[in-house]
Symmetry: C2
Subunit: 227 residues, 2 copies
DNA sequence: GAACATAAGATTGTATACAGAGTGGACGGA
DNA sequence: TCCGTCCACTCTGTATACAATCTTATGTTC
């Protein structure tokens, strides 16, 4: 069983703490689909892959567990967290509630650099669709929402939105569901429309489009649970 | 220096993990004002108070740090996190954004038991004001918002709201600010009005009152930064 | 052949040991 | 007296050791 590909050894030169590096490495592995939902995460194995001891790995796992990305299994062990349908929907609802505010603020105060960064995120999403790279598409979409949050200037809301999206993305990636290219294109198109409204400095249009986008997302993904 | 009062030894009999117990104990100590902002949190001391080793204490602290309740000091050590004025306001704005949704849902679907629990929370807040117990008042207020979130049925939003409120409460408690009894009374009155709207099953009134409440809160507390 | 008991192994949870970095204080010199 | 340097101590971060528990496999009995 070759595990090399799963996690590369950390070669952080001791300055940033191993805990942080392990946290990032494990989270990236989950979000890239290298650790699948329901897969068991063994501390010793992860430590070996990262070539550090169990201590910082445990601390990273404790944080990830608290965030809800991983969960303790019945009696023993941790696994990448799945979501029930209701939890999945709750995440989308949460973001629907928040995003209109984010885009309104962004429309009022986003800098040109921030608008350009949003544009780049859309471009990366488009490239990922072309390359049939679902993980890349989801990452670029998360980036878009994160940048939107940053442009709004509200850190807690930004963090919240991104965290919810991470959890739904993990589900999508791990469930083996394939997102229809048409759906990805639609999502990208909606992002583009929001960005246009931001450039026009039109908060109400932006908010309307954000609500539409959030609802579309929820509908598109909720369908996945039927199959 | 008698530290006995700060943290009582854990006498969890090994079933719930020490990490969880330590997390709760430390968090409670912070929210009760026993650990003040800018106070240095020394792992060894905390471990000694809880009569456990540093390992689970460190894990608990890692989580609290990730949550933002504590933060690493310049080069060395952890301290109870303070908030800048902007961060403080951002927390209130975040909750303002979310709470209208929560109360709308709660108006539609809160059970009688949940309404009664909300009523109890208001009563506890009132008792705390009478007893000139600011910490108790803030705890009861947090309970009110938490119960509101639970009644809404959206776990992520509930968690988010409570977490934000914890952070602002820590600031209020630790800053040594005294909240005017009149302000506490006003807040309780607004909670009562929201609860009435829930009982009437009137989502729009409830939402309106929630917005008013959130804005009032923000204004009342923002004033504290002037002094 | 099936089911249960028992033992060995795997894995977690906690404690302790150790190394490195930062802080504070004491001592010496200007 | 004030400043600087150096040393000791404190505290963090990581590693390792140990204990307890759960799993699994094997063997024995019915």
């Amino acid at each position: 069983m070759i595990q090399t590909a799963l996690l590369a050894p950390l070669n952080v030169d001791r300055a940033p703490r191993y805990r942080e590096a392990a946290y990032t490495a494990i989270k990236s592995a989950i979000l890239d689909g290298r650790f699948a939902p329901n897969q068991s995460l063994v501390e010793e194995q992860i430590a070996a892959m990262l070539q550090i001891s169990r201590t910082p790995v445990r601390e990273a796992l404790a944080i990830l567990e608290h965030e809800g990305l991983i969960a303790p299994r019945q009696g023993r062990g941790l696994y990448v967290a799945t979501l029930t349908r209701d939890e999945f929907v709750a995440m989308f609802v949460a973001n629907e509630t928040v995003e209109p505010y984010l885009v309104r603020r962004a429309a009022l105060q986003a800098s040109l650099e921030q608008l350009e960064a949003l544009n780049q995120a859309i471009r990366r999403a488009q490239e990922a669709v072309t390359a049939i790279d679902m993980v890349g598409f989801l990452r670029a979409s998360r980036d878009f929402h994160r940048l939107l949050g940053e442009a709004s200037g509200n850190a807690p809301l930004t963090r919240f939105v991104v965290q919810n999206e991470e959890r739904t993305d993990i589900y999508l990636i791990g469930s083996g569901q394939r997102i229809e290219p048409a759906n990805m294109e639609a999502s990208i198109h909606e992002h583009g429309a929001i960005l246009d409204a931001l450039i026009q400095r039109d908060p109400e249009s932006a908010a309307r489009l954000a609500i539409y986008h959030a609802q579309s997302l929820r509908q598109r993904f909720a369908e996945l649970f039927r199959s």
